[in-house]
């Protein structure tokens, strides 16, 4: 179980957090429909680092961006989400 160092709450157990999606699959409201659909259904899904959107669902309820390694689970960086 990972420990996620929430910028607001400090280090917390992973069970307080929920994974949402990768940063590159966020579909903004002004995106053309075709682009929106293709973003929704395409993931790089690397065996390595990716930028992921998580929510501290049972803590401060904020949205966070984790740059995280999917094999080692090392969290390279963590910041509040900003569009």
């Amino acid at each position: 179980m990972m420990q996620i160092d929430c910028p607001y709450c400090g280090p917390r157990a992973q069970v307080e957090f929920a994974y949402e999606r990768t940063l590159d699959s966020i579909v903004t409201l002004d995106m053309p429909a075709e682009e929106a659909v293709s973003r929704l259904y395409a993931r790089a899904n690397p065996r390595g680092l990716d930028d992921e959107l998580w929510r501290h669902s049972f803590g401060c309820r904020q949205w966070l961006v984790l740059r995280r390694h999917r094999v080692s689970h090392a969290i390279v960086s963590i910041t509040e989400y900003a569009p």
């Binding site: 179980m1 992973q14 069970v15 929920a18 994974y19 949402e20 999606r21 990768t22 659909v37 293709s38 929704l40 259904y41 395409a42 993931r43 790089a44 899904n45 690397p46 065996r47 990716d50 992921e52 998580w54 999917r70 094999v71 080692s72 689970h73």
Partner: protein, 418 residues
């Protein structure tokens, strides 16, 4: 190849078990093959077998980066059933179930398919209605399903907590008597041995590192053992579909997640059927060795670590105890993880791709093992003919863009909600 039989075993017993052949060869890769299948799991090996057996193609290689059956084939909870609600799914899985029934004889390898029944418990009237709906969908399509009363369930599994005050009271269940379990490793080994006997090269420790392309067309693969040419290349690496497809510049509607399972110390028979639940994501069966095999929710975040969240195991244990209180004193002896290919509608992809000569079999989520023979059958058809088998046609890669998803759980595109 020396055939396996009771008589052969008896003879071998008298001669100190000498004289058995190797189950499969250890060939060097050739320069090129008609078909290359990437991935030596059950699906890849069964694909190779049916390509050779049904379609008469013999110049085939299965490339496995590690040892065959070492991925999800050897890590699942071995449950075999076809009782899905959605028609494309139950048609495909029931085709598989029919093949399971004859698999040991077909392969001359005892895969220990044991149709001891796959039971879903219902914990409320609305659960029972949902189970009836699923059962009705199956029965109307000619697939076996049977609703069981509370009493019938109790008779089947006397150790269930049948009290009205139970956290998950048991109102009844739906069983598929043809469902059950099989010996997972034996499936990979059986297909490998049978495919090998038909001339298929099963090449272990051969990792694909790239595709050779010619004008947007795949012409072969690069491996740690050199370049190998191919007429058609089939990806069959569920759990790692993303990274392999990425070598061809593709992004898939798939995310890798960890799914854990665990087993208790072996004990004398106590559970004679596969127990699942309409409301809980917990499944229980007892292996032939005596261990109680348990599984629960996936880890619900992307990972290739093959190292899971203890909380998932703890939840599955709690749910299992809630259903079968006598499990509480049994001990987990081992837990393990697989990397699942979580597709974005919960259903597999057996399809051509936007790159010519390249095909994909993946996205099996946490339910691929039971599909093994049908998956191989349909993928072999696709790789042999270039056209989808009727059963696999709904599982096309472009269904997401078209809006023709097959969403058994009805939760949409977020795999972690499944």
């Amino acid at each position: 190849m020396k055939r396996y039989s009771a008589l052969a075993l008896l003879k071998a017993g008298l001669t100190g078990q000498r004289g058995w052949d190797r189950a499969w060869r250890d060939p060097e890769p050739k320069k090129s093959y008609d078909v290359i299948i990437i991935g030596g799991g059950g699906h890849g090996l069964s694909t190779a077998y049916y390509l050779a057996k049904v379609h008469g193609i013999r110049n085939i290689a299965v490339l496995e980066k590690g040892w065959i059956g070492g991925g999800n084939t050897g890590r699942n909870t071995t449950i075999v059933r076809s009782n899905y609600r959605q028609k494309p799914l139950h048609d495909l899985f029931d085709f598989a179930l029919n093949l399971w029934e004859g698999m040991s004889d077909e392969l001359n390898y005892n895969v220990m398919f044991s149709p001891r029944g796959a039971l879903f418990l219902g914990h409320s009237d609305s659960d029972m209605t949902m189970l009836a709906q699923r059962g009705d969908a199956l029965r109307c399509d000619g697939i076996d399903a049977e609703l069981l009363s509370r009493d019938q369930v109790q008779k089947l599994i006397p150790l269930l907590d049948m009290s009205a005050s139970a956290r998950f009271p048991i109102h009844g269940g739906m069983t598929q008597r043809r469902g059950g379990t099989a010996r997972h490793d034996a499936v990979a080994w059986g297909y490998a041995r049978a495919a090998d006997a038909l001339g298929v090269d099963v090449i272990q420790k051969c990792e694909v590192t790239g595709f050779t392309m010619d004008g947007g067309r795949v012409t072969g693969v690069e491996t740690n053992r050199g370049s190998i040419g191919a007429g058609r290349v089939g990806i069959c690496v569920a759990g790692n579909s993303g990274p392999v497809a990425a070598m061809a510049g593709l992004k898939l509607p798939i995310e890798a997640q960890t799914l854990q399972a665990f087993v208790t110390e072996p004990i004398k028979p106590m559970i004679d059927t596969v127990i699942m639940s309409q409301s809980l994501h917990c499944y229980i069966s007892q292996s032939d060795k005596g261990g109680i095999v348990l599984g629960g929710d996936p880890d619900q975040f992307p990972s290739y670590a093959q190292r899971g969240l203890p909380a998932r195991i703890e939840k599955a244990a709690a749910e299992a105890i809630a259903l079968v209180p006598a499990l509480s004193r049994l001990r987990m002896v081992r837990c393990w993880s697989g990397t699942t290919d979580m597709s974005f509608d919960g259903s597999p992809i057996i399809s051509g791709l936007p790159v010519d000569n390249l095909y994909l079999n993946g996205g099996w989520c946490y339910g691929g093992f039971k599909a093994t023979p049908a998956s191989g059958w349909c993928y072999a058809h696709l790789l042999a003919t270039g056209a989808s088998h009727a059963l696999a046609a709904p599982f096309a890669f472009d269904r997401f863009a078209r809006g023709a998803t097959i969403d058994e759980a009805g939760v949409g595109f977020m795999p972690q909600l499944r």
